[in-house]
């Protein structure tokens, strides 16, 4: 067999742009000062969104993965960037959420009349852009150490977003997040070091072609996967997520819950599917599925118990992340069908994307609610649907996707996962998916019920909320619903560029 090497493809420079464009914007903000921060950020959103769309079009038109070899130095000496169909989907999803959240934040900042918020606003723009760059780097990275750097950048951009308002409790939450994420990074770095010591390469494509099984690789994989689990906050490693995501300002919560935790999940997917030998991948997949199922059931009940809206949404995130982990055994391929040809693979990817859109919409809607009423205690929100009809509608539509009710992306995702579970004869996973859906229905319904209620004392908004602020959430929720119109079958776009990695599965 001829060893596969990276080669720069036409359009490969777009990947570089996707990573460095936000970094350039950060530098520009630092150079030009806080006054122009919002303007630079908005311009970057437009450009970055265009780049993401360009990458997706390039993928579709060429039908092959995009690659870029930095400085034309082949790995292991140089660095390669590569985007296949799944990465392309992640890039577009990230751009969509970041743009919507950015617009929301811009409108919200415009409402704040006091001048004291200026520093926090600049910090927000800088951190959001840095976070975007880090996410894109994770999605196109091909080198374990590069990915480590991207993950660290992600963490260091996300932590300040948690404690943007500087209250003592959010600082505590941010520290908790930082410490636990650092322990996770440490484990990941240890694993990456082991691999480098053993094989002398960190390139994922090269590792995929090794096809070796030895204890060192097993230990390295275990360390990296568990380290990433800590960053993804899968149950029972979710200690940092609820206070951090619930305490952050609404736009920050939206990107944290929708995007930031998806990066480690994406990496686990790549490690298990591309690097791990088949048997190890199957075993690791089973174990991850157990944790995922526990996460779905346990944290859905926790979400149902929460008295505060944002905490409820945060626990729901931990529960929904669980669905991404039960994909592993369901997407186990066979001799003639690679994992990415299965319906479970498409289902998992759709779950990832539709959860990102729906969760961002929910956090933004919750932010509007908190802004309007000054609190987010669910019990005292009776009748908020009258005051904020658009936010209530956004919450409801996003809720449809979480519950898996048609037509929505969540429905298609759950339907595909269920079909995979039924075909494989895996009743436990099927029951878990269904139970998770019913529990999600219960906690979403709790809020919808409050929105529709007519309390004896009508609820009044503390301040007027402009419609355009609410519309950002609605747009994301509608996007989550529209994903429901993709066909119920393995989705060609997600398979682009996966064929080259087939040999990882050859015995």
């Amino acid at each position: 067999m001829t060893p596969l090497v990276h080669a720069t493809t036409p359009g490969g420079f777009l990947l570089v742009l996707a990573v460095i464009l936000p970094v350039c914007a950060v530098l520009a903000i630092l150079a030009c000062g806080p006054r122009s921060a919002a303007r630079i950020a908005l311009a970057t959103f437009a450009a970055g969104f265009a780049v993401a769309i360009a990458i997706a079009t390039e993928l579709v038109s060429s039908g092959k993965a995009l690659s870029y070899v930095v400085g034309a130095w082949q790995p292991p000496l140089g660095i390669a960037l590569r985007a296949d169909g799944l990465s392309g989907a992640m890039l577009v999803m990230t751009a969509l959420v970041v743009v919507a959240v950015g617009l929301f934040a811009h409108i919200q900042h415009g409402l704040q009349t006091d001048t004291g918020g200026g520093r926090a606003q600049t910090t927000f723009w800088v951190m959001l852009l840095a976070l975007w760059s880090a996410l894109n780097a994770v999605f196109v990275g091909e080198d374990l150490f590069n990915l480590y750097v991207a993950l660290e950048l992600l963490t260091f951009a996300a932590v300040p977003l948690v404690c943007l308002d500087g209250r003592a409790e959010t600082v505590t939450a941010a520290l908790r997040y930082l410490l636990f994420a650092l322990i996770g990074s440490l484990l990941y770095l240890l694993g990456a070091g082991l691999i480098y010591g053993q094989y002398g390469t960190l390139d994922l494509l090269a590792l995929a072609q090794l096809g070796r099984r030895d204890p060192a690789l097993a230990v390295a994989l275990a360390l990296m996967i568990v380290g990433l689990l800590a960053k993804a906050a899968l149950f029972p490693l979710h200690l940092w997520l609820p206070p951090a995501h619930a305490g952050a300002p609404a736009p920050a919560s939206a990107v944290l819950s929708a995007l930031v935790i998806k990066a480690p999940v994406f990496l686990i997917l790549r490690l298990v599917l591309d690097v791990a030998p088949p048997q190890a991948a199957a075993t690791a997949g089973q174990m991850l599925a157990v944790l995922g199922a526990a996460s779905i059931l346990f944290c859905s009940v926790m979400a149902l118990r929460q008295a505060r809206l944002k905490l409820m949404i945060a626990y729901s995130t931990v529960a929904q992340i669980g669905y991404l982990f039960i994909v592993f055994p369901l997407a186990a391929g066979s001799a003639d069908l690679p994992p990415w040809g299965t319906i479970a693979w498409t289902g998992g990817a759709l779950q990832l994307v539709s959860h990102a859109l729906a969760k961002a919409a929910m956090f933004l809607a919750a932010g509007v609610v908190a802004e309007a009423f000054g609190h987010d205690r669910i019990a005292d929100l009776g009748g908020f649907g009258r005051v904020l009809p658009i936010s209530a509608a956004a919450f409801g539509l996003a809720g449809l996707s979480l519950m898996g009710i048609p037509p929505s992306g969540g429905f298609v995702a759950k339907c595909l996962l269920l079909t995979a579970a039924v075909i494989q004869g895996n009743p436990w996973l099927a029951a878990t998916i269904l139970a998770g859906g019913v529990l999600a229905g219960a906690y979403v319904f709790r809020v919808i019920d409050k929105a529709l209620a007519v309390p004896t004392v009508p609820i009044v908004a503390r301040c007027a909320v402009p419609r355009r602020l609410e519309c950002a959430a609605l747009a994301l929720a509608i996007a989550a619903v529209l994903i429901g119109f993709v066909p119920l079958r393995p989705f060609g776009f997600l398979q682009i560029g996966r064929d080259g990695l087939n040999m990882a599965w050859a015995p």
């Binding site: 636990f180 322990i183 484990l187 099984r213 030895d214 204890p215 690789l217 097993a218 230990v219 994989l221 275990a222 360390l223 996967i225 568990v226 380290g227 800590a230 149950f235 029972p236 490693l237 979710h238 200690l239 609820p242 791990a276 030998p277 048997q279 190890a280 075993t283 690791a284 174990m287 346990f298 926790m302 149902l304 118990r305 519950m403 898996g404 009710i405 048609p406 037509p407 759950k414 339907c415 269920l418 079909t419 039924v422 075909i423 099927a430 269904l434 139970a435 859906g437 019913v438 229905g441 219960a442 319904f445 019920d449 529709l452 007519v454 119109f485 993709v486 066909p487 119920l488 079958r489």
Partner: protein, 543 residues
């Protein structure tokens, strides 16, 4: 697309277009006035579109609409009741500040429940089923009383459970089918050969039984139907429960038969038929009695379908639809009648009571009414064994329950001041009453294959009369029972479920405790290391 296809499409999409129009505030303010026309395309489709016509919408909608005989019968009756009840609602709630919201929920439920009768593909069936189920919540809680809220919460909880069961059943049904969104007809034809046949059938029966309100999954029905405003009660009890009936008609393999599940349906149906009567007869509120009567009647429909499944007789679906449309119109008229009687007094009251009495006794099978036709049309199915006897006894029970209902009505309306209901409410009621008599007569020859004059022979009359007399005699005795009224609370066994509430709360607190434990630093750190060792160990064993 042909004219027939367009009409079918309009039946489904016209109400949805009206919902979209409600985005405009000006339209929304008058939305309740237009709900009367929303089901008219469906009514026209039921009458004008020839059987077997279909409409197909390509991707990304992948929607198939198809009209067959059971679908057309149910669609026609349901559309008529929706329209009349809509007119009634427009008159009743003209001054209600929340009328526009009510109209939106109304239109959504309407679109879902009517669409179910004509949809032909699996995914859109689920979509419309969900739409009808969940939108009905808005109708139930409209009056915002504490009891309406409780009913709404219980309703949504069970509806979500039903959705989940139905989803897995549909996935099991079509998992091995090459088309991702197959036609219902083709997957159901493959079902008898499927390895998961029994599991799929069991899930379908449970899922649709929840919607129909078969015992013991009926608990939401006697709470939800009376809680809604009167016109909404009429459509909930008359049409929306039929979502379960059309589901069973569509998804059970009547061609191939399934004797085991046929017997299960017969058994559950009989228990439900009697249970509804026994509990209903202890209820002091007229609308609750009607709701229990719906439970009982749905049991009879389940028996019919069970016989069809048992004997592999597809013709049963037509007879079931015929029985169901009789129930749709009569029950709708009775619920509207409760509202009419509440505002009527003096001499007109006696006339209205008389009309209501005829309608009510029609459910028990009073000669020359639609009830008698439905019973005579289905009678040959039961044979001459114990089943025929059991069904006759159920008819007697229905009569007794309806006599109980009439006694309550007489008591409630005794003190009414002289007056007459608004014309906008009276007229729709009279239309439904007339339809309840005329439609079953006009369909009878086509469905049963017998002629109308055969119905007027004394033998046929006696066949339906003596169970009524039996029921009347039984009521004479039951009427004297002390402390009968209110002996069983509304929703009967839901009270038992509520006794389990502390248990659920303790479980939830336990989960909360475990979560707090896991979120402590030492525990989380330990779990992290333990997981790393576990993963490493297991992966090393593989290497």
């Amino acid at each position: 697309m042909s004219g027939a296809g367009l009409l079918l499409a309009a039946a489904l999409f016209f109400p949805l277009v009206l919902v979209i129009c409600c985005l405009s505030a000006r339209f929304r303010a008058r939305a309740l006035a237009v709900v009367v026309i929303a089901p008219l395309p469906a009514l026209a489709a039921a009458v004008l579109v020839p059987e077997g016509r279909f409409a197909f919408f390509p991707a990304p909608f992948r929607l198939t609409l198809v009209l067959d005989q059971p679908g057309a019968i149910l669609l026609g009756g349901a559309a008529l009741l929706w329209s009349a009840a809509g007119a009634y609602a427009a008159s009743l709630m003209a001054r209600d500040p929340a009328a526009s919201r009510f109209a939106i929920w109304w239109l959504l439920t309407l679109a879902g429940s009517l669409g179910l009768f004509i949809v032909g593909d699996v995914v859109n069936f689920y979509l419309l089923f969900t739409l009808a189920s969940l939108s009905a919540y808005g109708l139930i809680i409209h009056e915002q009383s504490a009891s309406a809220h409780r009913a709404g919460v219980i309703y949504v909880g069970l509806a979500l459970l039903g959705e989940a069961l139905l989803l897995i059943a549909l996935v099991m049904l079509s998992a091995t089918h090459p088309d991702a969104n197959p036609q219902i007809r083709s997957v159901v034809a493959d079902l008898p050969a499927s390895a998961m046949r029994d599991g799929t059938l069991a899930l379908f029966i449970i899922g649709f039984a929840l919607k129909m309100g078969l015992v013991p999954l009926h608990v939401w029905l006697p709470l939800a139907h009376p809680a809604a405003p009167t016109p909404a009660s009429a459509v909930l009890s008359g049409v929306v429960v039929k979502a379960g009936v059309i589901g069973l008609i569509r998804f059970l393999p009547f061609e191939a038969g399934a004797p085991l599940w046929g017997s299960v349906l017969i058994g559950v149906g009989l228990v439900t038929a009697y249970y509804g009567v026994i509990v209903g007869i202890t209820q002091p509120r007229a609308k609750t009695v009607l709701a229990y009567s719906t439970v009982s009647q749905m049991g009879l429909l389940a028996v019919l379908l069970g016989i069809g499944l048992d004997t592999a007789d597809p013709a049963v679906t037509n007879l079931t639809a015929y029985y169901a449309v009789h129930h749709t119109l009569v029950k709708g008229a009775l619920f509207l009648g409760v509202g009419i009687l509440a505002t009527t007094g003096g001499r007109r009251l006696r006339l209205a009571l008389l009309l209501t009495a005829v309608l009510a006794l029609s459910l028990g099978g009073m000669p020359l009414t639609s009830g008698a036709l439905a019973k005579l049309a289905t009678k040959p199915l039961f044979g001459y064994g114990w089943l025929a006897g059991a069904m006759t006894l159920a008819g007697a029970g229905s009569t007794a329950l309806m006599l109980h209902f009439l006694l309550i009505l007489r008591r409630d309306t005794a003190g009414n001041p002289a007056g007459s209901p608004a014309l906008g409410q009276l007229l729709p009621w009279l239309v439904v009453v007339a339809a309840a008599f005329l439609i079953p007569w006009s369909l009878y020859p086509a469905v049963s294959g017998e002629t109308v004059p055969g119905l007027l022979q004394s033998e046929a009359l006696w066949k339906v009369t003596w169970p009524m007399l039996l029921g009347a005699v039984a009521m004479l005795f039951v009427h004297r029972l002390p402390q009968r009224l209110g002996a069983i609370p509304e929703g009967d066994i839901i009270v038992l479920a509520q006794a389990a509430q502390p248990l659920a709360r303790r479980f939830s607190d336990r989960i909360g405790g475990i979560d707090a434990h896991f979120r402590r630093w030492p525990v989380a750190g330990f779990v992290l290391i333990a997981l790393a060792i576990l993963f490493g160990g297991v992966l090393m064993l593989q290497a």
